[in-house]
């Protein structure tokens, strides 16, 4: 398996506080990876760096077959290059219908003129309908997404991610605020997605991570503390110390 994303030696500090400290990380095509770590470990900043929201002070972030550096690209260019991100809190466009949200996310030319003259084809609409059924929102297709429940918004956001058809999926705490049944469904979707693309899941919930059954990276104070299977890392002394306290 070839490496899809390689982060090496990245550091970033805010007003003297080192949020990320010489972090290195690799993920291959079609790999599912969980990233865990206590509060303030730098998980969100790590995602910010990959998606271009935060520019690191030093280090390299290389992506894709041609090894493009993501550091010189804008957020929208990075997203167009195939990196999708789901935020911690569901951020869907609440003023618009589920259909519009999905249609907006659908992988298409993103330029303003192309969008202005865009007319959805029947195939596009079928694709949206299919996505909606995958995330269980077929019945709510023409409802405003602002009226959905918290869990449904999470689904919608995952659906939008899938609609983007990204090569690398960054998912921040997908199971937050979900019922156990919803969690199970989410796990299935993520594992299904990881068959064709790389998926990075940031999660607190060990049970959820265990169910994902994948390689785990533990972050602490901005750098990688341990990496390996969940069982492997939970046996690591340092991890235990960080997570469980002395």
């Amino acid at each position: 398996m070839s490496t899809l994303l390689e982060v090496s030696g990245v550091s970033v500090s805010f007003d003297g506080f080192k949020a990320i400290n010489n972090l290195s990380f690799q993920i291959a095509d079609a790999e599912l990876r969980a990233v865990i770590g206590p509060n303030g470990a730098g998980k969100t900043t790590f995602m910010d760096i990959i998606t271009g929201k935060t520019k690191p002070d030093e280090g390299r972030v290389v992506y894709g077959d041609r090894g493009d550096s993501l550091l010189k690209m804008s957020e929208s260019k990075i997203a167009q290059a195939g990196i999708g991100r789901k935020f911690q809190r569901p951020t869907v466009f609440e003023d618009q219908s589920v259909f519009d949200n999905l249609m907006m996310a659908l992988r298409k030319t993103r330029g303003p003129l192309a969008v202005l003259f865009f007319k959805p084809t029947p195939e596009d609409e079928d694709k949206v309908a299919q996505l909606a059924s995958e995330i269980g929102l077929s019945a709510a297709l023409h409802r405003k997404s602002g009226e959905l429940s918290h869990g449904q918004k999470q689904w919608l956001e995952i659906g939008m991610l899938l609609a983007q058809d990204p090569r690398l999926l960054l998912v921040d705490e997908p199971a937050a605020g979900m019922t156990p049944a919803e969690r199970e469904h989410t796990t299935d979707i993520l594992r299904e997605a990881a068959k064709t693309r790389a998926v990075v899941v940031v999660e607190h919930d060990m049970e959820f991570v265990r169910r994902l059954n994948c390689k785990v990276t533990v972050l602490h104070e901005g750098s990688v503390l341990a990496e390996g299977s969940l069982d492997h890392v939970t046996k690591n002394e340092q991890v235990i110390e960080v997570y469980l306290g002395r």
């Binding site: 929208s76 618009q96 202005l116 865009f118 405003k144 602002g146 983007q164």
Partner: protein
């Protein structure tokens, strides 16, 4: 516009957007009614000056539409669109003034014993136009003033180009929210201060005048000319409304509303947010320029005071009072406030005698407007357009105090539609 999502996409445009059709029908009826009642073509119930007021109001509605598109839909509170409006007026005003003065100068020179040389004609026009600012030569920016097509192009190009350059600079450095508003206000202030100077080449604070007279058509009475402009304004408003409705209806509308509510999220979807903002900013500047080019020939005079930042803030006031984020709201707001304003400041409103003090509306109208604007912002963020919701039974959902998005331009809870 909840009807966007409810209708199937394969239906014709008109059926998907009944409000557009309703608006166009009302506009057509209004135009017909005014024509029948006018002095120029009808029974003469409406005076020519009132026809001009109505025509000007239509132009203000058009620029309010542009403002709604950029603010209500895209979340950019621009305090510069009246500057674009003024630039459109200046562009057409230059030709009107040049062409009319040329006719006058040619007439006066025709009586001379020698036929005039081109230089004499040009000097004659220049000293007529620029005598008030103590100059007698054409400034470089008047180089196209002789040509109607070129100045008409300038109506579109000058505001468009300014918006493009300014927007490109502002958006690429990610200036958003109030900062952008202040920056656009500064741009407007700089432009009006520039035009106030005599050596700006546009007659300083005298501005351009006599624009109500169409060159070569001095035989046509104003009652007829005013109707021509009224029709043109109505047509422009109709077309502008259709254009705006089309822009906001499809995926583009989705994206710009998404930008308004949560710009960062749109970026992570892969949309170049800056390019979208730039397109909207420039497009609305062009619409504003066209509205200005139709407005000022009806007003007869344009001067830099019209461009001052306060005019652009009033524009935002109209849209807010009418109800932002809905096109008809902008039109209602502009028409309502500007007509009521004309009524109050024109001295037609009866003064209120309190015994110890007489409230003269000419003096107190601005106070009333300012306070009513505060009240609208506080208690009726949906504006007058919110009344329409009562009829079609749309209510705002209970969002537990959450706005539609994290961005400063996002709609408020009360503005959300069920």
């Amino acid at each position: 516009m909840s009807d966007v999502a409810l209708g199937s996409r394969r239906q014709p445009f008109a059926l998907r957007f009944p409000s557009v059709m309703v608006f166009l029908a009302i506009l057509a009826l209004f135009t017909l009614g005014v024509t029948i009642l006018s002095e120029g073509f009808g029974i003469g119930v409406i005076s020519t000056s009132f026809v001009k007021t109505l025509g000007k109001t239509l132009c203000l509605c058009l620029v309010a539409l542009a403002m709604d598109l950029v603010w209500g839909y895209c979340g950019i509170l621009s305090l510069g669109h009246m500057a674009f409006f003024g630039l459109g007026g200046y562009a057409i005003g230059m030709w009107l003034m040049y062409a009319r003065t040329e006719i006058i100068v040619l007439e006066s020179l025709a009586a001379a014993p020698l036929p005039p040389t081109p230089q004499e004609v040009s000097d004659g026009i220049a000293s007529q136009i620029f005598g008030v600012v103590g100059a007698s030569e054409f400034p470089p920016i008047w180089v196209f003033a002789h040509s109607l097509p070129l100045q008409l192009a300038a109506v579109v190009i000058v505001p468009g180009l300014l918006a493009l350059v300014f927007g490109w600079l502002a958006f690429r450095s990610r200036v958003t929210g109030v900062y952008l508003s202040i920056l656009t206000q500064a741009m407007t202030l700089a432009l009006s201060l520039h035009l106030f100077q005599n050596d700006s080449g546009l007659r300083g604070n005298n501005g351009l005048s006599g624009l109500q007279n169409l060159p070569g058509l001095s035989d046509v009475p104003q009652s007829i000319v005013s109707m021509w402009f009224f029709w043109a304004s109505a047509l422009a408003l109709g077309l502008g409304y259709l254009l705006c409705a089309w822009v906001v209806s499809g995926k583009f509308g989705s994206v710009i509303r998404a930008i308004r509510d949560d710009e960062a999220r749109v970026r992570f979807l892969g949309y170049p947010v800056e390019a979208f903002k730039l397109v909207i900013f420039t497009l609305t500047a062009v619409i504003a320029g066209i509205a200005g080019a139709l407005y000022y020939p009806q007003a007869g005079i344009i001067n830099p005071a019209e461009i001052a930042p306060i005019a652009s803030i009033y524009l935002a006031v109209w849209v807010a009072i009418g109800g932002r984020g809905r096109l008809y709201g902008a039109v209602i707001g502009a028409a309502f406030v500007s007509l009521v304003s004309t009524w109050f400041t024109g001295g037609q409103a009866p003064d209120i005698n309190l015994g110890f003090y007489t409230i003269s509306w000419v003096d107190w109208w601005t106070v009333l407007l300012g306070l009513s604007f505060v009240c609208v912002t506080l208690y009726a963020p949906k504006g007058i357009g919110g009344l329409v919701d009562l009829i079609v039974d749309r209510r705002s959902p209970n969002r537990h105090g959450a706005d539609l998005g994290p961005d400063q331009g996002a709609l408020r809870e009360q503005e959300a539609e069920k």
